[in-house]
């Protein structure tokens, strides 16, 4: 086999996929994005949504059951249900499983997506799109720290991605939020960061409204990279 074929036919690491599904659902439950008692979609649908095989999904659900984060009931009206934990999202515990290199790479990926989405949003936004972004900024200004702020932060970036008119960039934004969003939001929510983060959010929306494509991209990229730099600092201080 030549090099390209070796890459194409390399075994897909199933352990990594199971781990990714477990981490995604664990974070969503810890952040309250999935709520106590909420029923998960059927195994076939959930596997299809996540883009993994049902075998992978079942392994992940088993791990979540063992952690007590979901419970599965059999029979009519059965299915998997979320059991929200009492403990809150713990940034340092979550950081412990990531190396500085992994954080940097996640940041590079997210900055590329967020920057491209913001640039296209500046090129393609109509007044209704900008109004949606402004409404999120206003709600964020009124929100206190905590889970509510995290949800609005996620929504603002989702709205920017959607304003790009690209389904692929929006889905990638959703995927990256599931993967790194909880870490970024936890850093954003630190008391000494809030002012700067608010200014960055306003800067992205201002640039989109002004149809300034380059500025929108630059601010959106540095918004991600600033947060990731802080995460790496914190990780290396362990």
């Amino acid at each position: 086999m030549d090099g390209a074929h070796r890459v194409v036919f390399a075994p897909v690491d199933n352990t990594a996929r199971v781990h990714a599904v477990v981490r995604r659902l664990t974070d969503a439950i810890a952040l309250g994005l999935l709520t106590d008692g909420e029923q998960l979609p059927s195994e076939a649908d959930l596997a299809a949504h996540l883009g993994v095989s049902t075998v992978t999904l079942r392994e992940a659900l088993m791990a979540l059951r063992q952690q007590g984060l979901i419970e599965t009931r059999r029979g009519r009206g059965g299915g998997s249900f979320v059991r929200a934990p009492a403990r809150e999202f713990d940034l340092d515990e979550r950081l412990r499983s990531l190396s500085a290199e992994e954080l940097r790479d996640l940041g590079d990926h997210y900055a590329a997506i967020a920057g491209a989405a913001a640039r296209l949003a500046a090129a393609r936004s109509l007044p209704a799109d900008v109004r949606r972004l402004r409404r999120s900024l206003e709600e964020m200004a009124a929100a206190g720290p905590g889970a509510g702020m995290c949800r609005l932060d996620g929504r603002l970036h989702l709205e920017v991605a959607a304003a790009s008119q690209s389904g692929r960039l929006t889905r990638e934004e959703i995927r990256l939020q599931a993967e790194i969003g909880p870490l970024v939001w936890a850093v954003h929510d630190l008391p000494d960061r809030r002012g700067r983060v608010d200014a960055e959010h306003a800067g992205i929306v201002d640039a989109i409204e002004a149809a300034d494509e380059n500025r929108a991209r630059d601010v959106a990229e540095s918004h991600v990279l600033n947060a990731v730099e802080r995460l790496i600092d914190r990780r290396l201080a362990f």
Binding site: E38, L126, R155, Q165, S166
Partner: protein
């Protein structure tokens, strides 16, 4: 002003007929939802989520290659057991109809408030037919879609919205042949100025069009959409 190429009128008529076809399904959902809610009211109690399950056979039957999402979106506080609710069905990843299960709890979701979307505000404000998009629908499908919606009334009161989703690519496949018969760059643009389908790469779907000198716009019947042709 040069004479309008003959194919422009035909393209505008085709866009109108295409949308009218989808609105036939929307009207079915509207009538069924109104009937369902009136039946519940007649028993003297407030409607709950489970009452809307009566719509499921209709919704599942009308989903198909053209309509990829269909349902009823309740006005806030209509239902006794949920502040926000969508009885919404879409073509699932496995190809079968599947129900959208979204967290619409204000305590845990920032996306619950669907009443600011144009497909809701249009019918709520009295418009009989609202065509919204194309837009990236991150509430339901994460796809680039059009949403067509109509108000549902029960006992003279606005109680919610009947709506259908069509993938932007499905709409494009349907109308581009008619656009290609126009011997000039031409595209369909929605009321706010978003290109919906086009016969030229200079104006791809999703691009923003603002009046350009020398371009002529032809309305698509009673819809606030136009076929724009370069002069």
């Amino acid at each position: 002003m040069p004479a309008e190429p003959p194919a422009v009128g035909a393209a505008a008529a085709h866009v109108r007929a295409t949308l009218d076809g989808v609105f036939t399904d929307v009207a079915r959902v509207r009538d069924a939802a109104a009937r369902c809610l009136a039946d519940v009211r007649a028993t003297g109690r407030a409607p709950v989520r489970a009452d809307l399950a009566a719509l499921r056979p209709l919704l599942q039957a009308r989903l198909g290659p053209f309509v990829c999402g269909l349902g009823f979106i309740a006005a806030p506080r209509l239902l006794a057991d949920a502040a926000w609710y969508l009885e919404w069905w879409q073509t699932g990843p496995a190809g079968r109809p599947s129900q959208l299960l979204r967290d619409l709890n204000p305590e845990s979701s920032a996306l619950y408030d669907y009443t600011r979307w144009e497909w809701f505000t249009g019918p709520e404000g009295g418009a009989e037919k609202t065509v919204c998009g194309p837009y990236v629908d991150y509430l339901c499908s994460d796809e680039y879609v059009l949403t067509l919606s109509a108000p549902v009334h029960a006992a003279g009161t606005f109680v919610g919205v009947a709506a259908a989703d069509v993938f932007a690519r499905t709409f494009e496949n349907e109308v581009v042949p008619a656009l290609r018969r126009i011997p000039a760059p031409a595209f369909v643009v929605n009321a706010p100025g978003r290109v919906m389908a086009s016969n030229t790469a200079s104006w791809p779907p999703g691009a923003v069009y603002r009046d350009v000198p020398g371009y002529a716009a032809k309305r698509c019947g009673d819809f606030s959409l136009s076929v724009v042709t370069a002069g």
